[in-house]
């Protein structure tokens, strides 16, 4: 049915705007710091770059309280099932950001022990390259994610549950 609604009805469009506006301005990240990228992620949360300006100040320690999964660092094959389970524990709506070359594609480790990109197990929304990305690079990626959320249509799921991702 969602295919027939090319342009959503006025009420739903306004509702979309309201929902996406509130979603994008209160992204609570779940920082899974797996390697050196975690240091840059922590620096982003500190005073100089201050991720709180975008409504992301609360780095939750529990995946159940988070909306945004920042995979920061090398995902080894041993860690991969745990990362997948953490993502499954997050409540919808949820987003994934792969931060750093290791999370994007295995980076400098094309080996048997390292997962070649976290997008093999998770639906990644934004890939942030860099080794590691600077705090400003991470903020740039997060702003990109906010733009993408603003363009999404959460009410589509009412008519078509399959429209989710």
């Amino acid at each position: 049915m969602s295919d027939r609604i090319e342009r959503p009805p006025f009420v739903l469009a306004k509702l979309d705007q309201l929902i996406t506006w509130s979603q994008k301005n209160s992204l609570w990240p779940f920082g899974s710091g797996l390697a050196c990228c975690a240091i840059e992620m922590i620096a982003t949360a500190a005073a100089r770059y201050d991720i709180a300006r975008f409504g992301m100040e609360l780095f939750r320690a529990s995946p159940r309280q988070a909306d945004l999964f920042i995979v920061a660092g090398t995902v080894t094959n041993k860690m991969a099932p745990i990362i997948r389970r953490l993502w499954e524990q997050m409540a919808d709506p949820k987003w994934v950001v792969a931060m750093g070359n290791c999370a994007v594609s295995g980076g400098p480790f094309p080996t048997y022990a390292v997962l070649q990109g976290v997008d093999r197990i998770l639906p990644v929304d934004i890939h942030i390259a860099g080794c590691p990305p600077t705090p400003q690079g991470l903020l740039n990626g997060l702003l990109l994610l906010q733009e993408r959320i603003a363009k999404s249509h959460p009410t589509k799921e009412i008519f078509n549950p399959d429209a989710r991702r």
């Binding site: 100089r48 300006r53 980076g107 400098p108 997008d119 390259a129 990305p133 690079g137 990109l144 993408r148």
Partner: protein, 160 residues
């Protein structure tokens, strides 16, 4: 005396006020937050941003396809092929593939580059976010992109 002073200290919350004084000093002090999208932190002198190929003043590519960067690279980011230009008898790259998602920004390729000025250099670009992972693989034409064109490439602009 000791007991009385301790009582007064706890009663008037001296330690808490002392701690709050530090907070207030920073509150009215110099602001250190960089308002990122509006204002960008000036990059340090030897900042390692994304690798870019450069051209000389006449718009000719500096690269001579010697593959020194490829040999120096620790993670096999490069795939280069060169062809000798029949007119000028110099080698020019016809294929210059670079995988950003494998790069560790170590700078060995920049050190190995024999041309003067160096044809491959670190730029000051730190914005390397994309929604499409395949955008992290660069070809010859994309290696010259900078600034807004580079961002357009990352966000799904023209792909060569």
């Amino acid at each position: 005396m000791n007991k009385v002073s301790r009582f007064l200290k706890t009663f008037f919350l001296v330690d808490i006020l002392r701690g709050l004084a530090v907070t207030m000093r920073f509150y009215f002090g110099r602001k250190i937050t960089i308002q990122y999208p509006e204002e960008v932190q000036p990059s340090p002198e030897r900042f390692k941003g994304i690798l870019r190929l450069y051209k000389d003043e006449n718009g000719k590519p500096l690269c001579i396809a010697c593959k020194a960067c490829r040999r120096a690279c620790g993670t096999n980011c490069f795939d280069i092929e060169g062809v000798r230009d029949p007119g000028t008898r110099t080698m020019r790259p016809v294929k210059y593939d670079w995988k950003l998602d494998r790069c560790t920004f170590c700078g060995l390729c920049v050190e190995a580059c024999p041309t003067t000025p160096k044809s491959i250099r670190f730029s000051e670009e730190f914005r390397m976010a994309t929604a499409d992972k395949s955008r992290l693989h660069f070809h010859l034409e994309d290696m010259y992109l900078k600034g807004k064109d580079l961002q357009k490439f990352f966000q799904g602009g023209s792909k060569t």
